[in-house]
């Protein structure tokens, strides 16, 4: 099982922490319906490490923790 943490903006009535079966981040994106409609604000982190490209192909294993992180620029 994979643990997924959602930010407030994406929870949409769902629990902030969910568990699900998934082989890759692509599976998570599909199951959460965060595909093409997801905007540029949100990034994935796996086990505390940010994913900056090739996100759908990132393989997951049992016990992994996925977090969706808000990424913006500052001044």
């Amino acid at each position: 099982m994979i643990t997924v943490r959602l930010p407030e903006a994406l929870s949409d009535g769902r629990s902030a922490i969910m568990t699900m079966d998934a082989q890759s981040l692509g599976d998570i994106i599909a199951k959460l319906d965060l595909g093409d409609d997801r905007d540029e604000l949100f990034n994935f982190a796996v086990n505390g490490e940010l994913v900056l490209h090739g996100e759908k192909d990132v393989e997951l294993k049992n016990g992994d923790e996925v977090e969706i992180v808000v990424a913006i620029a500052g001044g």
Partner: protein
Amino acid sequence: MSIRTRVDALLTRLATEPQFPTQGQTIFVDLARQEVRRAWIPLRIVHALLGGRGVNMFLLHNLLDETLQPIDPEIPLIFGTGILTSMVPSASRGNVTSWSPESRVLMDSNAGDYFPSFMKLNGIDHLVLYGKATRWTLLHFEGDQPKFVDAAPWVGLDNIDLRAKIAEDFHGVEGKDYGLAAITTAGENLVLCSGIMAGPKAIYARGGPGAKMGGLKLKAVLIQGRAADLTTARPHKLRNRDVALKLLNTSVVKNALKKRGTPFLYKPSRMLGAMGTKNNQETTWTDKLDAENIDPYRPGMEGCFACPVNCRPLNDMSNDLNVRHDKYVKGDGPEYVTLGKFGPNVGITEVTQVLRLNNICNDLGLDTASTGSAISWAMELYQRGIITREQTQLDLTWGNYDAIEQLLFMTAKREGFGDVIADSSQAVANGKYPVESLDYLMAVKGLTQSDPHDARILKAFALGLAVATRGMDHLRNRVTLEINAKINDSPDFKAELYGGPVAAEPNSYEGKELAVRRCENIYAVGDSVGMCRFTTKLFNSPSLPGYEEFADQVANVTGIELSKEEIDGIGLNVMGVERLINAKLGVTRADDTLPKRWFEEAIGVGPYKGEKIDRGEFDKMLSRFYEVSNLTDEGLPKPEWRGELEGVLTS
């Protein structure tokens, strides 16, 4: 040639009446002689450089005597307001420009809140200040008419007390009745990392504007009233509604900027292993400083003049019994920069300590980027034994909160070791550190890094920091969207955004020159119209207002029609003129580089462990950047374009 002769010569080439609806005056103020002269910027300059930052560069290029020193009162301090400032949502910004006493290259710094808007609301597009006042002076404009007021009642006051006393003495409310740009005691003491405060937190921060203004013996500029006729060429309010809706419907505004502001960025940076820590010796830090941990101390959000976004978090620690309850128990901020510079970069782990240091810096008028960087540099020198307790009289061990707080007050007064911090990046040149200290200075072109992001991983960030005309600063050209996987994984969309193929991998050097070029252009245009960087297309989102909205509103407000290509060309022109100014100040290709550490030491943690900057690849990327920027191998405009620019600047 004296500044007065230069001003005389320039005035013969300027217009004697407004050139388009809403155009404000350019007012030349000789503080030494208390003389005022007025003109309007000709249309050919506006077509080439628009306004705000762009026209400031035209003025500086004409008035700069590079044989002097930056702090010399013959070097002008130039305030500019964007061509759309105060008239379009989120366009509330303006720039201040000079020769930097801190970096010794171009100084150009941007601020919001209210002062730039009150310039525009009173028909002042540019304010050129020179000559040293014979006594501390407050320049008081009622409408566009200045009075030279003896500033004795306000000298010695820092930001909190100064703004309270000005409100009382001038019977008004800042932001409603007047705008104020003022220096604190740090500026009076010519502290090189001091800024000009444009509000409780808003600061013209970078490059030492506070010291530059202090060198003119000018304590404050107060602009009171709303006297200008800002009748636009065509109706513009309907289009303003589109702009506001676009802003408010963009996810980054709705879900981040309006809720917690920029501290959100702390978390992705530390997760990436790119959070500058202990003067960039390390690159990740505690999750205790993540934005959500500031929530209990955030009573609300504030905003700049007529901006619907309100992205500035306030702070209030009054309910926390573990913190000191004095005037620094509440304040305005912090932004991500301050969180990083006074958190990981100096070894602080407690949110309340960062908030307090933020509030102190706002009061003392210290640029948190430069001051935080100067302190972390000192701490590394202390760690390495290059400087000792004997010199500092303070224990500069990482995370020693009490020493850091004390050092801020000492810096503003130039007392003890504070006098060294007050010299910022110039501490070696001024003989206060040994030369080997430069190996650990995180600066480019004499300016320490603005933001805490360690750019050894993201090569577009690294290139941007290297080529930025004012020094090591992310706000000039950062390709922020490189941090987003969804965009990186969409090659066609990415190519459309940046005008050509840009590698998906953040640590690749391929195509990054295109992305930096595109960002540098649009941000320079944004500064020239007065738009906030946070809400300009490409900085935080591809969906925010950009050239289309800028061109439409420039046409509606001024009647000046510009195509998308022309407006993009203006962005390039601004950079070109800035490079010509820097060339006068001795800047060459060798200065478009990065701190030694980033070439020689690899990232030690995270998904990009082992990453650093390869000198050969960096040099090739720099050459490609020059080529797509129409620059020579030395980083100057190519001859044909240079001729065109010099024609505009000197005709």
